[in-house]
Assembly symmetry: C2
Homo-oligomer: 159 residues x 2
């Protein structure tokens, strides 16, 4: 589980670097599918990971800014770094005994849904990879090479 989070964090930071090479106009241009814009996609990835892990599983009172409050690349990088300092300790403390612990998710209509922690963590992992796949298409539309999605070759495994 931990390695897949590390992969996502590394890839996310590579995309932040990629964003530095692209105009703000391209980062905020409306596109087809997904969240519809590059920068809001990166914001969304950060907010969802933080919301599920720190708000949902840890039941902490968290403050997630709206996109408009962090609408620049630098602010979203800062938002990501801030969330990371709160998310990472939980991920690194993960052990399999937490798999079946249950969190309650309160839906918009007030009803509650129960989810095992293990399901939530995998949801968060898949969520980020999925949206990053979307960025890779938009990158090619701009005529730029996307960040590599390869997990192998990132130095995540030492042996």
């Amino acid at each position: 589980m931990i390695k897949l989070f590390e992969y996502n964090w590394q890839v996310r930071n590579d995309w932040f670097d990629w964003c530095e090479t692209v105009s703000r106009e391209e980062l905020m241009k409306q596109r087809i599918g997904g969240i519809g814009y590059i920068l809001p996609t990166l914001y969304h990835i950060v907010a969802v990971e933080y919301g599920w892990i720190c708000g949902g599983i840890q039941e902490r009172l968290i403050d997630i800014p709206s996109f408009e409050e962090v609408a620049s690349l630098q602010q979203i990088k800062d938002f990501s770094a801030r969330c990371h300092t709160e998310v990472a300790p939980f991920v690194y403390a993960w052990d399999d005994s937490l798999e079946d612990r249950i969190m309650m998710d309160i839906l918009d209509d007030g009803t509650q849904e129960a989810h095992p922690f293990g399901e939530v963590l995998r949801h968060v992992i898949a969520h980020e990879i999925h949206h990053i796949g979307q960025l890779s298409i938009w990158s090619r539309e701009i005529g730029k090479e996307p960040v590599t999605a390869n997990l192998i070759g990132r130095g995540l495994f030492r042996f």
Copy 2:
């Protein structure tokens, strides 16, 4: 690890169902980014999973057909089902003692690279989710709702 494979297999089959509702022309229309076409993307996902797990890790002599040999939706569904019967027993027999076992990957230039089994499995998981994210963009380009990428709510976890 197993749950993320189950997620991928379920999503992949949902995309096969989605393909049934789309013309062959759309499935084979050239698009920007990724593998460049919907049907070859699904072929590629199957071939990569099968290649790494049955060819790479298990060191079996496997036969991966070219895309041209399985170029219809039905043939790719059959290819996926055939590979699944070979991949699934390995995935379901996974235990953490296999994490650090090493496989040798022979590169095009003849050199070899060593990879722990755990790295390969996570690579295969992330690879499929990434390409499925790309399909979701192309789906919207066609004007169709994509298959949901949500891992939560798929009934993968019983408790």
